[in-house]
Symmetry: C2
Subunit: 111 residues, 2 copies
Amino acid sequence: MSQQLDLLFYSLSDQTRRDILRRLTLKELTVSQIAKPYKISLAAVSKHLKVLEKAKLIGRRRDGKNHIIHAEPKTLIKIDSWIEFYKQYWNESFDQLNTYLTTVGDTKNET
Amino acid sequence: MSQQLDLLFYSLSDQTRRDILRRLTLKELTVSQIAKPYKISLAAVSKHLKVLEKAKLIGRRRDGKNHIIHAEPKTLIKIDSWIEFYKQYWNESFDQLNTYLTTVGDTKNET
DNA sequence: AGAATAGTTTACCAATTGGTTAAATGAGTC
DNA sequence: GACTCATTTAACCAATTGGTAAACTATTCT
């Protein structure tokens, strides 16, 4: 249950993995294509992909010797709904200001 | 820059830290009050708090010997805006269905 | 000053991480 | 079958993690 969220957040806590995910969202790519821009080894990229895959942020199909990797951005919905709860709080100060204005009166001519 | 996102996501990749954050959002608490429900040591909780503090998900003020900890839920806005980019993609299939219906005609009597 | 309370910091431990290189698998090609 | 090409897996390493217990710091109380 929350193990899935652990995995999700953990996957996204690495800049390289976030970058991979972003690129995959725009276009599916093979493992080699994914690896090209980074200075780390192909094996390291393979490991990053496994992390993302475990979190279900990406999926893969096979085409001959190539593994074609695609993003599963809808998995991020889970984070979005997790954050949902906090949204009512993060503009608290703004809301308090509103409440204040309403109480005091937000028009200037009330006499 | 993205170091801040690393910290944020990393902080949230732990169930205990997420739970602490949730409780703090509802009500500010001292370190001991935070620690009470968990079976881990106070020192361990203190470390979790440091992680959350570094990510700016919580803040603290001092009241005598007590450290009073509060949530900073607005920090989560950063994750929310990060996710924003992906939202246009995660309902892709749904959008494709819409496009299809519009193309074919979504009313049944067009002859 | 001395004792109690609330937290933090230090030193340690086992497990995990991100990285490496080298060996192993899998799938097309000669 | 032998040879590449694409990728994964294995063995290793240094650094970091979440946890502990014990020592330390800061504040209040007597």
